[in-house]
Protein backbone atom coordinates (compact mmCIF):
# COMPACT_ATOMS: atom_id res chain seq x y z
CA UNK A 1 0.00 0.00 0.00
CA UNK A 2 1.02 3.53 -0.73
CA UNK A 3 0.33 6.30 1.79
CA UNK A 4 -0.04 9.93 0.82
CA UNK A 5 0.75 12.37 3.64
CA UNK A 6 -0.22 16.04 3.70
CA UNK A 7 2.72 18.05 4.98
CA UNK A 8 1.99 21.76 5.31
CA UNK A 9 4.50 24.44 6.24
CA UNK A 10 3.22 26.86 8.89
CA UNK A 11 4.46 29.48 11.33
CA UNK A 12 6.11 27.58 14.21
CA UNK A 13 3.79 26.96 17.15
CA UNK A 14 6.14 28.80 19.52
CA UNK A 15 6.06 32.08 17.61
CA UNK A 16 4.12 34.91 19.20
CA UNK A 17 1.82 35.97 16.39
CA UNK A 18 1.67 39.69 15.58
CA UNK A 19 -1.01 41.28 13.44
CA UNK A 20 0.45 43.68 10.85
CA UNK A 21 -0.27 47.35 11.73
CA UNK A 22 -2.32 47.80 8.54
CA UNK A 23 -4.41 44.72 9.35
CA UNK A 24 -3.60 43.04 6.05
CA UNK A 25 -2.47 39.84 7.75
CA UNK A 26 -0.07 38.56 10.38
CA UNK A 27 3.68 39.09 10.32
CA UNK A 28 5.35 36.13 8.62
CA UNK A 29 8.57 37.80 7.39
CA UNK A 30 11.59 36.54 9.29
CA UNK A 31 9.39 34.30 11.39
CA UNK A 32 10.33 30.66 12.01
CA UNK A 33 8.43 28.26 9.75
CA UNK A 34 7.98 24.60 10.64
CA UNK A 35 5.98 21.59 9.54
CA UNK A 36 2.43 21.71 10.89
CA UNK A 37 2.61 19.64 14.14
CA UNK A 38 -0.40 17.53 13.16
CA UNK A 39 1.21 16.73 9.79
CA UNK A 40 4.37 15.55 11.49
CA UNK A 41 2.18 13.16 13.44
CA UNK A 42 0.57 12.05 10.15
CA UNK A 43 3.99 11.42 8.63
CA UNK A 44 5.18 9.55 11.72
CA UNK A 45 2.12 7.29 11.57
CA UNK A 46 2.74 6.56 7.89
CA UNK A 47 6.37 5.69 8.60
CA UNK A 48 5.31 3.33 11.39
CA UNK A 49 2.87 1.59 9.05
CA UNK A 50 5.70 1.15 6.57
CA UNK A 51 7.98 -0.19 9.30
CA UNK A 52 5.27 -2.71 10.22
CA UNK A 53 5.16 -3.85 6.59
CA UNK A 54 1.61 -2.56 6.08
CA UNK A 55 2.72 0.16 3.66
CA UNK A 56 5.49 0.05 1.08
CA UNK A 57 5.76 3.68 0.15
CA UNK A 58 5.22 6.99 1.93
CA UNK A 59 4.82 10.12 -0.20
CA UNK A 60 4.75 13.58 1.41
CA UNK A 61 2.86 16.37 -0.33
CA UNK A 62 2.98 20.08 0.33
CA UNK A 63 1.13 22.87 -1.44
CA UNK A 64 3.50 25.76 -0.88
CA UNK A 65 5.50 28.56 -2.51
CA UNK A 66 8.67 27.75 -4.49
CA UNK A 67 10.93 28.41 -1.49
CA UNK A 68 9.46 25.45 0.42
CA UNK A 69 11.89 22.84 -0.95
CA UNK A 70 13.86 22.58 2.33
CA UNK A 71 10.55 21.92 4.07
CA UNK A 72 9.89 18.94 1.80
CA UNK A 73 13.48 17.75 2.26
CA UNK A 74 12.67 17.76 5.94
CA UNK A 75 9.83 15.32 5.33
CA UNK A 76 12.17 13.15 3.30
CA UNK A 77 14.76 13.28 6.09
CA UNK A 78 12.14 12.13 8.55
CA UNK A 79 11.73 9.09 6.33
CA UNK A 80 9.31 9.61 3.43
CA UNK A 81 10.30 7.79 0.22
CA UNK A 82 9.54 10.73 -2.02
CA UNK A 83 8.02 14.18 -2.02
CA UNK A 84 5.65 16.10 -4.24
CA UNK A 85 5.77 19.88 -4.10
CA UNK A 86 2.67 21.49 -5.55
CA UNK A 87 3.84 25.03 -6.15
CA UNK A 88 1.44 27.84 -5.39
CA UNK A 89 2.54 31.40 -4.66
CA UNK A 90 -0.16 32.32 -2.22
CA UNK A 91 -1.86 30.26 0.45
CA UNK A 92 -4.64 28.02 -0.84
CA UNK A 93 -7.96 27.45 0.87
CA UNK A 94 -9.01 24.02 2.13
CA UNK A 95 -11.36 23.31 -0.80
CA UNK A 96 -8.60 24.11 -3.27
CA UNK A 97 -6.16 21.95 -1.33
CA UNK A 98 -8.69 19.11 -1.34
CA UNK A 99 -9.21 19.44 -5.10
CA UNK A 100 -5.46 19.41 -5.71
CA UNK A 101 -4.96 16.39 -3.46
CA UNK A 102 -7.78 14.59 -5.26
CA UNK A 103 -5.91 15.06 -8.56
CA UNK A 104 -2.81 13.52 -6.98
CA UNK A 105 -4.86 10.64 -5.61
CA UNK A 106 -6.18 9.88 -9.08
CA UNK A 107 -2.58 9.68 -10.27
CA UNK A 108 -0.96 7.96 -7.30
CA UNK A 109 -3.80 5.64 -6.19
CA UNK A 110 -2.86 5.55 -2.49
CA UNK A 111 -4.52 3.08 -0.11
CA UNK A 112 -4.54 5.66 2.65
CA UNK A 113 -4.30 9.44 2.89
CA UNK A 114 -3.06 10.82 6.20
CA UNK A 115 -3.51 14.51 6.98
CA UNK A 116 -3.31 16.61 10.13
CA UNK A 117 -6.72 17.41 11.61
CA UNK A 118 -5.98 21.10 11.28
CA UNK A 119 -3.16 23.42 10.31
CA UNK A 120 -2.18 25.74 13.13
CA UNK A 121 -2.19 28.83 10.90
CA UNK A 122 -5.76 29.08 9.63
CA UNK A 123 -7.06 26.50 12.15
CA UNK A 124 -9.70 25.58 9.54
CA UNK A 125 -9.98 21.83 10.22
CA UNK A 126 -11.55 21.17 6.80
CA UNK A 127 -9.19 19.71 4.20
CA UNK A 128 -9.39 16.02 5.18
CA UNK A 129 -13.18 16.04 5.38
CA UNK A 130 -13.49 17.90 2.06
CA UNK A 131 -11.07 15.55 0.34
CA UNK A 132 -12.96 12.48 1.59
CA UNK A 133 -16.22 13.97 0.30
CA UNK A 134 -14.83 14.76 -3.16
CA UNK A 135 -13.18 11.34 -3.34
CA UNK A 136 -16.43 9.72 -2.11
CA UNK A 137 -14.45 7.72 0.42
CA UNK A 138 -14.62 7.33 4.23
CA UNK A 139 -13.12 9.81 6.64
CA UNK A 140 -11.86 9.24 10.16
CA UNK A 141 -11.01 12.58 11.72
CA UNK A 142 -9.16 13.36 14.98
CA UNK A 143 -7.52 9.93 15.14
CA UNK A 144 -5.72 8.88 18.30
CA UNK A 145 -5.33 5.22 17.31
CA UNK A 146 -5.13 3.56 13.92
CA UNK A 147 -5.04 -0.18 13.19
CA UNK A 148 -5.10 -1.56 9.67
CA UNK A 149 -6.24 -5.08 8.87
CA UNK A 150 -6.31 -5.80 5.16
CA UNK A 151 -8.79 -3.47 3.48
CA UNK A 152 -10.26 -2.16 6.73
CA UNK A 153 -8.98 0.43 9.18
CA UNK A 154 -10.15 0.66 12.77
CA UNK A 155 -9.76 4.19 14.02
CA UNK A 156 -10.23 5.60 17.50
CA UNK A 157 -11.25 9.25 17.37
CA UNK A 158 -10.98 11.93 20.05
CA UNK A 159 -14.48 13.40 20.27
CA UNK A 160 -16.03 15.77 22.82
CA UNK A 161 -17.82 12.89 24.55
CA UNK A 162 -14.73 10.69 24.84
CA UNK A 163 -13.20 8.14 22.48
CA UNK A 164 -15.17 6.90 19.50
CA UNK A 165 -14.07 3.90 17.45
CA UNK A 166 -15.17 3.45 13.86
CA UNK A 167 -14.33 1.03 11.09
CA UNK A 168 -13.74 2.28 7.58
CA UNK A 169 -13.05 0.58 4.27
CA UNK A 170 -9.86 1.58 2.50
CA UNK A 171 -8.92 3.66 0.66
CA UNK A 172 -9.83 6.43 3.06
CA UNK A 173 -8.75 9.72 4.59
CA UNK A 174 -7.58 9.75 8.21
CA UNK A 175 -6.80 13.01 10.03
CA UNK A 176 -4.55 12.96 13.06
CA UNK A 177 -4.95 14.24 16.58
CA UNK A 178 -2.08 15.01 18.94
CA UNK A 179 -2.06 11.76 20.86
CA UNK A 180 -1.75 9.42 17.85
CA UNK A 181 2.04 9.23 18.28
CA UNK A 182 5.14 11.22 19.08
CA UNK A 183 7.06 12.10 15.93
CA UNK A 184 10.70 10.98 15.76
CA UNK A 185 13.61 13.37 15.67
CA UNK A 186 15.53 13.72 12.45
CA UNK A 187 19.12 12.47 12.59
CA UNK A 188 21.98 14.09 10.71
CA UNK A 189 22.71 11.15 8.36
CA UNK A 190 19.03 11.18 7.35
CA UNK A 191 19.35 14.79 6.26
CA UNK A 192 22.21 13.71 3.98
CA UNK A 193 20.20 10.78 2.62
CA UNK A 194 17.21 13.01 1.94
CA UNK A 195 19.21 15.04 -0.57
CA UNK A 196 19.13 12.20 -3.06
CA UNK A 197 15.49 11.22 -2.60
CA UNK A 198 13.06 12.12 -5.40
CA UNK A 199 11.31 15.48 -5.08
CA UNK A 200 8.83 16.28 -7.81
CA UNK A 201 7.67 19.86 -8.37
CA UNK A 202 4.33 20.52 -9.94
CA UNK A 203 2.69 23.92 -10.47
CA UNK A 204 -0.83 23.95 -9.05
CA UNK A 205 -2.15 25.02 -12.44
CA UNK A 206 -0.71 21.83 -14.02
CA UNK A 207 -3.17 19.85 -11.92
CA UNK A 208 -6.00 21.77 -13.53
CA UNK A 209 -7.02 23.29 -10.21
CA UNK A 210 -7.78 26.99 -9.92
CA UNK A 211 -6.99 28.54 -6.52
CA UNK A 212 -10.52 29.70 -5.68
CA UNK A 213 -11.06 32.48 -3.17
CA UNK A 214 -14.10 30.83 -1.65
CA UNK A 215 -13.97 32.67 1.65
CA UNK A 216 -12.22 36.01 1.16
CA UNK A 217 -10.03 37.15 4.05
CA UNK A 218 -10.26 40.87 4.83
CA UNK A 219 -9.15 42.85 7.85
CA UNK A 220 -7.07 41.20 10.58
CA UNK A 221 -7.05 42.44 14.16
CA UNK A 222 -5.49 41.33 17.42
CA UNK A 223 -7.87 39.64 19.84
CA UNK A 224 -9.44 41.94 22.43
CA UNK A 225 -7.02 42.32 25.34
CA UNK A 226 -8.15 41.35 28.81
CA UNK A 227 -7.90 43.99 31.50
CA UNK A 228 -4.80 43.68 33.69
CA UNK A 229 -5.51 41.50 36.71
CA UNK A 230 -4.51 41.65 40.34
CA UNK A 231 -2.08 39.50 42.30
CA UNK A 232 -3.18 38.37 45.74
CA UNK A 233 -0.82 37.30 48.52
CA UNK A 234 -2.64 34.37 50.03
CA UNK A 235 -5.78 32.26 50.05
CA UNK A 236 -7.62 34.86 52.15
CA UNK A 237 -6.83 37.46 49.51
CA UNK A 238 -8.07 35.13 46.79
CA UNK A 239 -11.34 34.46 48.59
CA UNK A 240 -11.83 38.22 49.10
CA UNK A 241 -11.21 38.94 45.43
CA UNK A 242 -13.68 36.23 44.43
CA UNK A 243 -16.26 37.62 46.86
CA UNK A 244 -15.82 41.13 45.49
CA UNK A 245 -16.66 39.81 42.06
CA UNK A 246 -19.65 37.95 43.44
CA UNK A 247 -18.21 34.62 42.38
CA UNK A 248 -18.41 32.84 45.72
Amino acid sequence: MKILVGYKRVVDFNVRIQVKPDGSGVVTDGVKLSPNPFDEIALEEALRLREKGIAEEVVVVAIAPADAQPHLRNGLAMGANRAIHIVSDGPVQPLTAARALLKLIEKEQPGLVLLGKQAIDDDANQTGQMLAALWQRPQATFASELAIDGQVARVTREVDAGLETIEIDLPAVVTTDLRLNEPRFIKLPDIMKARSKPLETLPLSDLGVEPGDFIAAGQHEPPPARARGVMVDDVAGLVDALKQRGLV
Binding site: P94, A133, Q139, D160, A161, G162, L163, E167, I215, L242
Partner: protein
Protein backbone atom coordinates in the same frame (compact mmCIF):
# COMPACT_ATOMS: atom_id res chain seq x y z
CA UNK B 1 -33.48 37.42 2.96
CA UNK B 2 -31.60 34.70 4.78
CA UNK B 3 -32.94 31.26 5.60
CA UNK B 4 -30.81 29.31 8.05
CA UNK B 5 -30.69 25.56 8.58
CA UNK B 6 -29.02 24.39 11.79
CA UNK B 7 -27.81 20.83 12.19
CA UNK B 8 -28.78 19.56 15.65
CA UNK B 9 -26.15 17.83 17.73
CA UNK B 10 -27.36 15.13 20.11
CA UNK B 11 -26.14 12.15 22.06
CA UNK B 12 -28.14 9.38 23.75
CA UNK B 13 -31.39 11.08 22.81
CA UNK B 14 -30.36 14.38 24.41
CA UNK B 15 -30.08 17.60 22.43
CA UNK B 16 -26.67 19.23 22.95
CA UNK B 17 -26.78 22.89 24.14
CA UNK B 18 -24.51 23.72 21.17
CA UNK B 19 -27.66 23.67 19.02
CA UNK B 20 -29.27 26.55 20.93
CA UNK B 21 -26.01 28.50 20.63
CA UNK B 22 -26.06 28.07 16.86
CA UNK B 23 -29.59 29.48 16.92
CA UNK B 24 -28.29 32.62 18.70
CA UNK B 25 -25.64 33.01 16.00
CA UNK B 26 -28.25 32.54 13.28
CA UNK B 27 -30.54 35.12 14.91
CA UNK B 28 -27.80 37.74 14.39
CA UNK B 29 -28.47 37.46 10.66
CA UNK B 30 -32.05 38.70 11.27
CA UNK B 31 -33.15 35.92 8.97
CA UNK B 32 -36.53 35.18 7.49
CA UNK B 33 -36.43 31.70 9.03
CA UNK B 34 -34.32 29.52 11.30
CA UNK B 35 -35.00 25.80 10.95
CA UNK B 36 -33.32 22.90 12.71
CA UNK B 37 -32.53 19.53 11.14
CA UNK B 38 -32.48 16.50 13.44
CA UNK B 39 -30.90 13.39 11.95
CA UNK B 40 -31.33 10.45 14.31
CA UNK B 41 -32.52 6.89 14.58
CA UNK B 42 -35.63 8.16 16.38
CA UNK B 43 -35.74 11.91 15.98
CA UNK B 44 -39.07 12.73 17.65
CA UNK B 45 -38.05 13.33 21.26
CA UNK B 46 -34.95 15.30 20.24
CA UNK B 47 -37.06 17.33 17.81
CA UNK B 48 -39.54 18.12 20.57
CA UNK B 49 -36.67 19.65 22.58
CA UNK B 50 -35.34 21.53 19.56
CA UNK B 51 -38.82 22.93 18.91
CA UNK B 52 -38.68 24.75 22.25
CA UNK B 53 -35.67 26.84 21.25
CA UNK B 54 -36.71 30.49 20.83
CA UNK B 55 -36.73 31.78 17.29
CA UNK B 56 -36.97 28.44 15.52
CA UNK B 57 -39.56 28.15 12.74
CA UNK B 58 -39.61 24.48 11.85
CA UNK B 59 -37.78 21.43 13.15
CA UNK B 60 -37.18 18.98 10.33
CA UNK B 61 -36.58 15.34 11.20
CA UNK B 62 -35.06 12.39 9.41
CA UNK B 63 -35.43 9.17 11.41
CA UNK B 64 -33.35 6.37 9.92
CA UNK B 65 -31.51 3.42 11.46
CA UNK B 66 -28.33 4.60 9.70
CA UNK B 67 -28.52 7.86 11.66
CA UNK B 68 -28.13 6.12 15.02
CA UNK B 69 -24.56 7.40 15.27
CA UNK B 70 -23.13 10.73 14.08
CA UNK B 71 -21.02 9.43 11.18
CA UNK B 72 -20.13 12.33 8.88
CA UNK B 73 -20.04 10.16 5.76
CA UNK B 74 -23.63 9.05 6.44
CA UNK B 75 -25.02 12.40 7.58
CA UNK B 76 -23.34 14.71 5.05
CA UNK B 77 -25.27 13.64 1.93
CA UNK B 78 -28.54 14.05 3.84
CA UNK B 79 -27.57 17.51 5.07
CA UNK B 80 -26.43 18.54 1.59
CA UNK B 81 -29.81 17.53 0.19
CA UNK B 82 -31.81 19.15 3.00
CA UNK B 83 -29.78 22.35 2.50
CA UNK B 84 -31.60 23.05 -0.74
CA UNK B 85 -33.32 26.44 -0.51
CA UNK B 86 -31.32 27.65 2.49
CA UNK B 87 -28.91 30.58 2.33
CA UNK B 88 -26.97 29.41 5.42
CA UNK B 89 -26.25 26.03 6.98
CA UNK B 90 -24.74 26.17 10.47
CA UNK B 91 -23.37 23.45 12.72
CA UNK B 92 -21.58 23.79 16.06
CA UNK B 93 -17.80 23.99 16.17
CA UNK B 94 -17.69 20.89 18.35
CA UNK B 95 -16.05 17.67 17.20
CA UNK B 96 -19.48 16.71 15.76
CA UNK B 97 -19.76 19.83 13.61
CA UNK B 98 -16.07 19.99 12.72
CA UNK B 99 -16.27 16.45 11.38
CA UNK B 100 -19.52 16.91 9.48
CA UNK B 101 -19.75 20.42 8.07
CA UNK B 102 -16.67 20.48 5.78
CA UNK B 103 -17.93 17.28 4.20
CA UNK B 104 -21.24 19.03 3.53
CA UNK B 105 -19.47 22.10 2.13
CA UNK B 106 -17.42 19.99 -0.28
CA UNK B 107 -20.53 18.15 -1.48
CA UNK B 108 -22.07 21.56 -2.21
CA UNK B 109 -18.84 22.78 -3.82
CA UNK B 110 -18.38 25.73 -1.48
CA UNK B 111 -15.84 26.84 1.12
CA UNK B 112 -16.59 26.83 4.82
CA UNK B 113 -16.34 29.46 7.52
CA UNK B 114 -14.86 27.67 10.55
CA UNK B 115 -15.39 28.87 14.13
CA UNK B 116 -17.67 31.78 13.30
CA UNK B 117 -17.43 34.08 16.34
CA UNK B 118 -19.25 37.22 15.18
CA UNK B 119 -21.79 38.04 12.50
CA UNK B 120 -21.15 41.32 10.67
CA UNK B 121 -23.75 40.86 7.96
CA UNK B 122 -25.29 37.97 6.03
CA UNK B 123 -22.00 37.15 4.34
CA UNK B 124 -19.29 38.70 6.53
CA UNK B 125 -18.11 37.15 9.75
CA UNK B 126 -15.24 37.21 12.21
CA UNK B 127 -13.28 34.09 13.06
CA UNK B 128 -10.10 33.35 15.03
CA UNK B 129 -6.90 32.09 13.39
CA UNK B 130 -3.44 31.24 14.77
CA UNK B 131 -4.86 29.78 18.00
CA UNK B 132 -6.93 32.91 18.51
CA UNK B 133 -3.96 35.28 18.28
CA UNK B 134 -5.55 37.05 15.35
CA UNK B 135 -9.15 37.65 14.38
CA UNK B 136 -9.93 37.86 10.69
CA UNK B 137 -13.00 39.22 8.94
CA UNK B 138 -14.02 36.86 6.15
CA UNK B 139 -16.56 37.25 3.39
CA UNK B 140 -18.38 34.36 1.79
CA UNK B 141 -19.78 34.72 -1.73
CA UNK B 142 -23.33 36.09 -1.89
CA UNK B 143 -24.41 33.70 -4.63
CA UNK B 144 -23.73 30.44 -2.76
CA UNK B 145 -24.93 28.91 0.49
CA UNK B 146 -22.82 29.86 3.51
CA UNK B 147 -21.62 26.79 5.37
CA UNK B 148 -20.22 27.56 8.80
CA UNK B 149 -19.32 26.05 12.13
CA UNK B 150 -20.28 28.29 15.03
CA UNK B 151 -17.76 28.87 17.82
CA UNK B 152 -20.14 28.02 20.64
CA UNK B 153 -18.18 29.92 23.32
CA UNK B 154 -18.99 33.16 21.45
CA UNK B 155 -22.78 32.87 21.69
CA UNK B 156 -25.21 32.35 24.57
CA UNK B 157 -27.79 29.59 24.23
CA UNK B 158 -31.11 30.87 22.87
CA UNK B 159 -34.03 30.64 25.31
CA UNK B 160 -36.41 27.69 25.48
CA UNK B 161 -39.92 29.11 25.38
CA UNK B 162 -40.58 28.42 21.74
CA UNK B 163 -43.01 26.08 20.06
CA UNK B 164 -41.80 25.39 16.54
CA UNK B 165 -43.57 23.05 14.16
CA UNK B 166 -42.02 19.60 13.67
CA UNK B 167 -42.04 18.08 10.23
CA UNK B 168 -40.63 14.76 8.97
CA UNK B 169 -38.51 14.94 5.84
CA UNK B 170 -38.17 12.20 3.28
CA UNK B 171 -34.82 12.89 1.68
CA UNK B 172 -34.44 9.77 -0.42
CA UNK B 173 -30.64 9.79 -0.34
CA UNK B 174 -28.52 6.72 -0.87
CA UNK B 175 -26.07 6.22 1.99
CA UNK B 176 -22.62 4.63 1.84
CA UNK B 177 -21.80 1.47 3.80
CA UNK B 178 -18.06 2.10 3.92
CA UNK B 179 -18.09 3.66 7.41
CA UNK B 180 -19.27 1.75 10.47
CA UNK B 181 -19.63 2.73 14.10
CA UNK B 182 -17.96 0.39 16.59
CA UNK B 183 -18.19 2.01 20.01
CA UNK B 184 -18.08 5.17 22.08
CA UNK B 185 -16.18 5.18 25.34
CA UNK B 186 -17.65 8.18 27.08
CA UNK B 187 -15.97 9.62 30.12
CA UNK B 188 -18.72 9.20 32.71
CA UNK B 189 -18.88 12.08 35.13
CA UNK B 190 -21.51 13.45 37.48
CA UNK B 191 -19.86 16.86 37.38
CA UNK B 192 -21.18 19.72 35.24
CA UNK B 193 -20.35 19.43 31.57
CA UNK B 194 -17.15 21.27 30.71
CA UNK B 195 -18.65 23.10 27.75
CA UNK B 196 -21.66 24.50 29.62
CA UNK B 197 -20.49 24.72 33.25
CA UNK B 198 -20.50 28.22 34.72
CA UNK B 199 -17.42 27.32 36.78
CA UNK B 200 -14.47 25.25 35.64
CA UNK B 201 -11.27 24.20 37.43
CA UNK B 202 -8.43 22.82 35.34
CA UNK B 203 -5.27 21.06 36.37
CA UNK B 204 -1.97 20.91 34.51
CA UNK B 205 1.23 18.94 34.39
CA UNK B 206 2.04 20.15 37.92
CA UNK B 207 -0.47 17.69 39.35
CA UNK B 208 1.98 14.92 38.53
CA UNK B 209 -0.47 12.01 38.58
CA UNK B 210 -4.10 11.02 38.11
CA UNK B 211 -4.28 10.38 41.85
CA UNK B 212 -3.21 13.95 42.60
CA UNK B 213 -6.13 15.29 40.55
CA UNK B 214 -8.23 14.47 43.64
CA UNK B 215 -7.43 17.92 45.02
CA UNK B 216 -8.93 19.44 41.87
CA UNK B 217 -12.06 17.23 41.94
CA UNK B 218 -12.60 17.91 45.59
CA UNK B 219 -12.52 21.69 45.15
CA UNK B 220 -14.67 21.37 42.01
CA UNK B 221 -17.33 19.50 43.93
CA UNK B 222 -17.35 22.14 46.61
CA UNK B 223 -17.87 24.84 43.96
CA UNK B 224 -20.18 22.80 41.73
CA UNK B 225 -17.61 23.22 38.97
CA UNK B 226 -16.71 21.21 35.89
CA UNK B 227 -13.14 19.90 35.61
CA UNK B 228 -10.73 20.46 32.72
CA UNK B 229 -7.05 19.91 32.05
CA UNK B 230 -4.11 21.06 29.99
CA UNK B 231 -2.82 18.98 27.12
CA UNK B 232 0.22 18.02 29.19
CA UNK B 233 -2.02 16.51 31.87
CA UNK B 234 -4.00 14.56 29.25
CA UNK B 235 -0.89 13.41 27.37
CA UNK B 236 0.59 12.17 30.64
CA UNK B 237 -2.55 10.09 31.18
CA UNK B 238 -3.67 11.83 34.38
CA UNK B 239 -7.13 12.45 32.92
CA UNK B 240 -9.06 11.46 29.75
CA UNK B 241 -8.87 13.38 26.47
CA UNK B 242 -12.37 14.82 26.72
CA UNK B 243 -11.13 17.07 29.53
CA UNK B 244 -8.57 18.93 27.41
CA UNK B 245 -9.10 22.67 27.17
CA UNK B 246 -7.48 24.70 24.41
CA UNK B 247 -6.84 25.15 20.71
CA UNK B 248 -7.17 21.45 20.05
CA UNK B 249 -9.43 20.61 22.97
CA UNK B 250 -12.54 22.39 24.17
CA UNK B 251 -13.08 26.13 23.85
CA UNK B 252 -15.05 27.21 26.89
CA UNK B 253 -16.53 30.37 28.37
CA UNK B 254 -17.39 29.80 32.04
CA UNK B 255 -18.03 32.69 34.43
CA UNK B 256 -15.15 31.47 36.56
CA UNK B 257 -12.07 29.56 35.38
CA UNK B 258 -9.41 28.41 37.82
CA UNK B 259 -6.14 27.26 36.24
CA UNK B 260 -4.07 25.20 38.66
CA UNK B 261 -0.47 24.32 37.86
CA UNK B 262 -0.89 25.33 34.23
CA UNK B 263 1.83 27.49 32.64
CA UNK B 264 -0.44 29.30 30.18
CA UNK B 265 0.80 28.27 26.73
CA UNK B 266 -1.02 30.13 23.93
CA UNK B 267 -2.65 26.86 22.86
CA UNK B 268 -4.23 26.57 26.30
CA UNK B 269 -5.15 30.26 26.62
CA UNK B 270 -7.07 30.20 23.36
CA UNK B 271 -9.55 27.85 25.03
CA UNK B 272 -10.32 30.16 27.97
CA UNK B 273 -10.18 33.72 26.57
CA UNK B 274 -13.93 34.13 26.84
CA UNK B 275 -14.07 33.17 30.51
CA UNK B 276 -15.56 35.84 32.80
CA UNK B 277 -12.91 35.68 35.52
CA UNK B 278 -9.67 33.74 35.22
CA UNK B 279 -7.88 32.71 38.40
CA UNK B 280 -4.34 31.34 38.16
CA UNK B 281 -2.54 29.37 40.84
CA UNK B 282 1.08 28.66 39.97
CA UNK B 283 4.31 28.49 41.90
CA UNK B 284 6.25 30.34 39.18
CA UNK B 285 5.62 34.13 39.38
CA UNK B 286 6.77 34.46 35.75
CA UNK B 287 4.35 31.88 34.34
CA UNK B 288 2.57 33.37 31.29
CA UNK B 289 -0.81 32.40 32.76
CA UNK B 290 -0.49 35.45 35.04
CA UNK B 291 -0.49 37.76 32.01
CA UNK B 292 -4.06 36.80 31.23
CA UNK B 293 -5.34 36.04 34.76
CA UNK B 294 -7.73 38.41 36.53
CA UNK B 295 -6.66 37.09 39.90
CA UNK B 296 -3.26 35.49 40.41
CA UNK B 297 -1.82 33.65 43.38
CA UNK B 298 1.79 32.46 43.46
CA UNK B 299 2.41 29.34 45.49
CA UNK B 300 2.34 25.57 45.78
CA UNK B 301 -0.99 24.21 44.62
CA UNK B 302 -0.83 21.29 47.04
CA UNK B 303 -0.80 23.76 49.91
CA UNK B 304 -3.18 26.31 48.41
CA UNK B 305 -6.02 24.10 47.20
CA UNK B 306 -6.87 22.44 50.55
CA UNK B 307 -6.70 25.87 52.20
CA UNK B 308 -8.98 27.35 49.57
CA UNK B 309 -11.46 24.51 49.89
CA UNK B 310 -11.55 25.00 53.64
CA UNK B 311 -12.00 28.76 53.30
CA UNK B 312 -14.99 28.55 50.96
Amino acid sequence: MSKVLIIAEHLDGQLNPSTAKCVSAAAKLSPQAIDILVLAEQADAIAADAAKIDGVGTVLTVSRAENAQPLAAILAPQVAKAADGYSHVFGPSTTFGKDLMPRVAALLGVGQVSDLMEVIDAHSFKRPIYAGNAIVTVTAPADAPVIATVRTASFPAAGSNGSAAVQALDLDVELPGHTRFVELKAGKSDRPDLQTASRVISGGRALGSGEAFKVIYSLADKLGAGVGASRAAVDAGYVPNDMQVGQTGKIIAPELYIAVGISGAIQHLTGIKDAGTIVAINKDPDAPIFEIADIGLVGDLFKILPELEAAL
